[in-house]
């Protein structure tokens, strides 16, 4: 029984994907909305990575767009500069694409380590500022590399990401983050969030867990960036400025930073909302700003308010200890 329940969300996502494709074939859903959906899934992934850093570990990173750009650019390098994607045989493309996505994740993860290692000694706002500055430095570096277009932008990246690929990676991310949170790593991170000093006295290597969460968050953002690069086909350093980073932050806190569902719901609603308001032309951003302020005033816990979708909470492991612990706590 538990097994089936565990796989229900995967199955649901699969059905959702089939319905979307079917609707598109029938002409009910335009490619435009399909693309908006892809952006929501990608933003959802990035926000989940941020949730791990900000929501679970209690650090305050506002440079997430920097990691997205690292992933996007390094995957673009793999598909355009290392391999000539369009001249590859059809059976080779998925492998090269996967390689590109992996490269995006790995390079971004390495960057995450290089930044996290020295800067996670800082706390609160200072960490926020370092991550923000880091994102801006990356942008300045990208502008100085002519091979990836520099300030003109990186063109002719194959538009290979499809909804199918993105759904698969999204599902993997949700799975990864969920299991991470409910593992001993996740519990260590939560204890750091609640009280860093106390968890250190309990023998938790706080620096190690903070850096680890930071690297996982960065890797997820990098993978999302790789997918994004192959949706857009064009990258520009200014796409990843600090305003973009605050977007992810807003997704997370507007959705509710107390739960994974918050990250996902926030990213979806706030990606779709500006698109749905497009008929208002420039007023949509005015409304977006106002809505954000009003929501924080009247519902500061976010849309989800810390509640979790049931499928995001793993079933208790079948073990005598767990059951005992459960019955003890009522």
């Amino acid at each position: 029984m538990g097994k089936i329940k565990n796989y229900a969300p995967v199955f649901g996502l699969f059905v959702f994907y089939l319905v979307c494709m079917r609707l598109r074939q029938a002409g009910y859903v335009k490619n435009y909305w399909l693309q908006v959906l892809m952006f929501s899934l990608i933003n959802g992934m990035v926000t989940l990575g941020l949730y791990l850093i900000n929501g679970i570990t209690g650090q305050f990173s506002i440079g997430q767009a920097g990691f997205v750009s690292v992933g996007a650019y390094s995957s673009g390098v793999v598909t355009t500069l290392l391999f000539n994607f369009s001249s590859l045989p059809a059976y080779g493309k998925p492998f090269v694409f996967l390689l590109a996505v992996a490269a995006g994740g790995i390079v971004s993860g390495i960057c995450g380590y290089l930044i996290g290692r020295p800067s996670l000694r800082l706390k609160g706002d200072y960490l926020a500022i370092v991550t923000l500055a880091f994102g801006e430095i990356l942008r300045a570096i990208i502008r100085c590399i002519p091979q990836v277009g520099g300030p003109r932008g990186f063109t002719s990246i194959p538009r290979y990401s499809t909804l199918g690929w993105i759904v698969v990676f999204f599902a993997l991310t949700v799975w990864l983050i969920r299991n991470y949170i409910h593992s001993s790593f996740g519990r260590a991170c939560v204890s750091i969030r609640e009280d860093e000093l106390a968890s250190e006295t309990m023998g938790i290597d706080t620096t190690r867990y903070k850096v680890q969460a930071f690297v996982v968050g960065a890797t997820v953002a990098g993978v999302a960036g790789a997918l994004l690069a192959h949706v857009l086909g064009f990258l520009h350093p200014d796409q990843f400025n600090y305003v973009r980073s605050t977007d992810f932050l807003v997704y997370l806190y507007a959705g509710g930073a107390g739960a994974m569902s918050g990250a996902i719901v926030g990213a979806f609603i706030l990606t779709i909302l500006p698109e749905a308001l497009r008929f208002l032309a420039g007023w949509r951003l005015v409304i977006y700003g106002l809505a954000l302020v009003l929501m924080m005033l009247y519902r500061p816990t976010g849309i989800c308010g810390g509640r979790e979708f049931p499928f995001l909470v793993p079933l208790p492991r079948r073990g005598a200890e767990t059951r005992a612990a459960l019955s003890e706590n009522g």
Binding site: V130, R143, L285
Partner: protein, 294 residues
């Protein structure tokens, strides 16, 4: 040497503007621990206020800069009262997200008003341009002199206000310990409003001085200016007034010199220096290290 002096003049000219804007960040942060993301937009509002007072009323530099200081200042009090005050006892991140929302609103609302709109406007020439030669080819012009003089006057006034008046003492007390200050009979809400007022007024003045130097203004001009000023505030030690000034000046000078070396380098250089400073001296150049309470 000539080139060095010339670049130094440009750097100081830019630096004093950063310093003026950075002061608002640092004061608000010092008093309520909020990174006021909307602060950069007061720069833009100040520049536009000056633009309209000059174009509609035909006044000179001094009335224009006065108007450009007053209007954003009043607006910032209003914003503090409506958007930030109700969240003061909530987690700090709520206030931060609210500040982002306010900033999005302030950037996009003027864009939609027909007489402002999204286009660049040419800022009127308020100070007649003249060059004075200092040393060989190095020159200083009237706008640079105005910028440096006006900022110095404002700065001296601010230091006088903070160090020598009753309001200033109350501000320092609230920044040090809000609850204790309230117990001593300081009206904390009023002091916070005054802090916002002064911060936004300085930002408005900064906006006018910036527009004198680079006379194209648009609704998004405050975003980058605000970010850099914020970085300058952190660089000097956020919460510290002399720190903001030092940070602003250094930031301006470093940026100008880096741009002179390679044009794409200018933007990133300030951030590199910032990271180095934060890694080796986390509280900034002149900031006090926060105490860890156990």
């Amino acid at each position: 040497m000539e080139q060095f002096i010339q670049l130094l003049i440009y750097g100081v000219q830019l630096g004093v503007i950063y310093a003026l804007i950075a002061l608002g960040y640092t004061m608000v942060y010092g008093i309520i621990n909020l990174i006021n993301f909307a602060h950069g937009d007061f720069v833009m509002i100040g520049a536009f206020t000056a633009f309209f007072t000059v174009n509609l009323a035909g006044v000179g530099f001094f009335p224009a800069i006065l108007a450009a200081m007053l209007f954003p200042a009043v607006l910032s009090i209003l914003i503090e009262r409506l958007a930030y005050r109700p969240l003061r006892d909530k987690p700090r991140l709520s206030a931060l997200i609210t500040a982002i929302g306010v900033s999005i609103f302030l950037e996009n609302f003027p864009r939609m008003i027909p007489f402002i709109g999204p286009n660049f406007r040419r800022f009127p020439e308020l100070i007649p341009m003249r060059h004075f030669y200092l040393l060989g080819n190095a020159s200083i012009n009237t706008i640079q002199i105005t910028n440096i003089a006006a900022s110095s006057v404002l700065l001296v006034f601010l230091i006088f206000l903070v160090q020598c008046t009753k309001v200033g003492r109350a501000m320092r007390a609230v920044a040090y310990n809000k609850d204790a200050a309230a117990l001593m009979g300081v009206d904390v809400n009023r002091i916070i409003s005054i802090t916002f007022f002064i911060g936004a007024a300085l930002a408005g003045a900064g906006g006018v001085l910036y527009s004198l130097t680079y006379p194209m203004i648009d609704v998004l001009m405050g975003v980058w200016l605000g970010t850099k000023a914020f970085i300058a505030a952190v660089f000097g030690g956020i919460g510290s007034i002399p720190g903001a000034v030092l940070g602003g000046l250094l930031m301006g000078i470093i940026e100008v010199f880096a741009t002179a070396v390679y044009s794409e380098l200018g933007y990133g250089s300030g951030f590199v220096v910032l990271i180095l400073v934060l890694l080796f001296r986390p509280s900034g150049l002149l900031g006090k290290a926060p105490l860890d309470k156990v």
